[in-house]
Symmetry: C4
Subunit: 261 residues, 4 copies
């Protein structure tokens, strides 16, 4: 894996362990519309007790730090976890942020593809949201991919794959990872759940629909009943990390905080 | 053509074929005001049954993907087609996007000029719109160029070439390609049709006027009657690719989609 | 110190002297929320009669100049001062601006850490504000750090270190310096005072609270009574340097100035 | 002069002639507040019949072209003219645009200083505006510099040099050229005229005051009576080049043009 670090000047890789994985499937879920991708992957990491094996830092990430649960600071980072299983070894990719500049997003996606290639991974699932102007009561799942076969593999009554002319550009790592996978001859699909387009909305309903599909297709044995419970922690983290203007809670009275620094 | 790829770190060229062309004229039409340039070139590609021979990708293009007619993802790209004919061999340049950063636009234009030079092309026609605050009923065509001779060549009662003091900066590839062509000793002209300045307006009337001029001057034998029919597909593509906020159509009810990812 | 200059292409170091310091503590205070950090450090520089030993210039800083007290121009710069004492040698870092681009902020922080490493410094204190929507009458101090030990060291009834879930991202050099210090095995803490979030607010009350803590913990013998007097000069400087739109005062009548250049 | 071209990757120099100049004074006037600098220098170029000897192009300039008086396109450029005289040889720097990115502005200023150094020039005068919220009836001139001596040299009852605490940052080439000149041991002053802050305002009154000072101090024998006449051409050019939204004049009716491309 040492070779990866040399390939990218923009990203810094911190390797925590070097797991032996068998053709792992990579599942990506970064902050985005309704935070659907992040909710799904963070829940899977918790529920499957996946182990972190790599962190990615970058000077193209926001020049700020977060306060973690130990009241200490953390640099913004992307994290990779693994979960070995008899069905499918998984690499779960989560993180605090997405790159905002175009070329940094391209370079991050290519780095992720390089990492997966080292593990001889051949398949990628990216997760995201389709932002609606109202909160959907019964959110539907849509998919698109870089080949027809993977769409067949994940075919389900829950998923609508007939989306040409319906959805516009798929923005960020969720879309670009699928687009760039072709060059590496990797099969890649994106699952998109309808959600509310508000930047701090926690699209738990749409996330649940995606998790149902993944649970069944990948035989994950997820405890989906615990999603409501775990969502509290994820919600808190998202509120703290994805907003610049947050509510500063004091015991005696409420005051709003804006920028800190 | 291998040399081109080495010259640019920002762009990646995918060569599909290596056509033998005789001093081809390059006609450019990328998304822009009223989408006039894109409509004209996309129509010519369809109507002349031009063949694609090159695709250009870049990490300076938007970090997003589009859903194509096969319900699969496409990376944003610029495409080059050719059409051989007894009158004039043509290279038709179309695409999903224009670079947004200044230096990327300069580098793309220089790359296009390099490509044309390899084919010993000596002439460039760029197409664009002049955005008005109202939809023009009878849109006029204006032109400017990097030399007087090419203005004479394309002289027509339909074209007004007396535009100093009338139009402001000509923005993006449409303008810059003409400006940079001088250094390569290539003759370049831009034809600009009046259109409505709204970002998603489909300037079909202005496009028709430009196509009339090109049809006559280049003896293209275009079937201009089919423009209205073909415009439907082009309109759909432009709506999907050039807007971030689109209308998400469901059968049962209407909902608006904003960002996806 | 010559080695530092080679490491960074983005920053230019002007060395004024090469003081012999004993494991200095670096205290950072750049413009930011309520200008709390800048007020504190500028006051300490004046009150402790610290000596300037280094200036940092950069083409990533704003492309503008300021008028100084001699009616001459100054380039935007970051300045480092030192103060030797029997308790703790100090490096005080002040400046006109913070980098606005992410990667420039990362590179500046790494440069500052390199400089401190040359002096065998092991500890960093960054100062900033937490912007509230109203002017706080009795501003509280919060802290976070890159390790538990330094939080204990600076523990005080005045400081609240239980801030997980309360504050969002800590933006700019104030946060990033603490986050990046870990790699250099340096201990780093940030002290944040509640203040009013308005960009030109002079958060003197919050600054005073931070200065009280630093005075006691570092045995600085600051003359805090002179803060109100000195604040006038600091306020004037901040008004002139951090605002693009200022009030242009003429003797006969008032006129507003906006951009100059 | 060949060495300059190698020093900068961002700028491309087109040398037209290689005049023999004796310690020339460089006078800069680029588009800016009230367009005061550009008006003054463009007028001096015309009135002194200065000769163009150099053009500077850059892929950091806007990716657009302008239509010139011959109805042909021009790339955005900076132009250098010279005027030999028994009193002072002059280099007059004019142009269509200013760089918008910080580092491009730093690099352009350093390039200009390199050029002046080749000609053994030792003095720089930059011209700009101080934008007020109302049109000043009797605009005053202010100055600042990188040394006291040049302020004395240009001292005049018309100029106020006591501006500390009165003006904020001096933005762009006008300010930065003065700030960066110190490193080259060049003497540099900026003259700033009060003007109206509106982006397309033509600050002719303020420009006249600056021209009066330059005429007297540099013994230029300018025909200031012709300023009103020549201002028409300059106004037209500024309107066309500095605005993105212009009025598109047709003979039959008025229509507004916005973006072209």
């Amino acid at each position: 894996m040492g070779g990866i670090q040399k390939k990218s000047k923009m990203f810094k890789i911190k390797k925590i362990s070097n797991p032996a994985l068998k053709n792992p499937i990579l599942i990506e879920g970064l902050p985005g519309i309704g935070n659907v991708g992040k909710i799904c992957v963070d829940f899977m990491i918790d529920n499957l007790e996946a182990k972190k094996f790599m962190e990615i830092y970058s000077d193209s990430f926001p020049s700020s730090v977060f306060v973690n649960e130990y009241n200490l600071v953390d640099l913004p980072k992307i994290e990779l976890f693994y979960k070995k299983s008899k069905n499918n070894d998984l690499i779960l990719l989560s993180g605090d942020i997405q790159p905002t500049e175009e070329h940094a997003c391209y370079e991050l996606c290519n780095l992720i593809l390089d990492i997966l290639e080292k593990f001889k991974g051949k398949e990628i699932i990216t997760l995201g949201g389709i932002g609606l102007s109202k909160i959907p009561e019964d959110p539907k799942i849509y998919c698109t991919a870089n080949n027809k076969e993977i769409i067949k593999k994940y075919k389900s009554p829950l998923i609508n794959s007939n989306i040409f002319g319906v959805v516009g550009p798929i923005i960020g790592v969720t879309g670009l990872l699928v687009g760039l996978a072709e060059e590496k001859k990797m099969s890649a699909i994106t699952l998109l759940a309808q959600t509310f387009a508000h930047p701090t909305y926690i699209g738990i309903k749409g996330s649940r629909e995606i998790l149902k599909v993944l649970d069944k297709k990948l035989k994950l044995s997820l405890d989906l009943n615990s999603l409501d419970k775990e969502i509290k922690n994820i919600e808190k983290e998202i509120m703290l990390k994805t907003q610049k203007i947050i509510t500063f809670k004091k015991k005696d009275k409420k005051q709003e905080t804006s920028y800190i620094g």
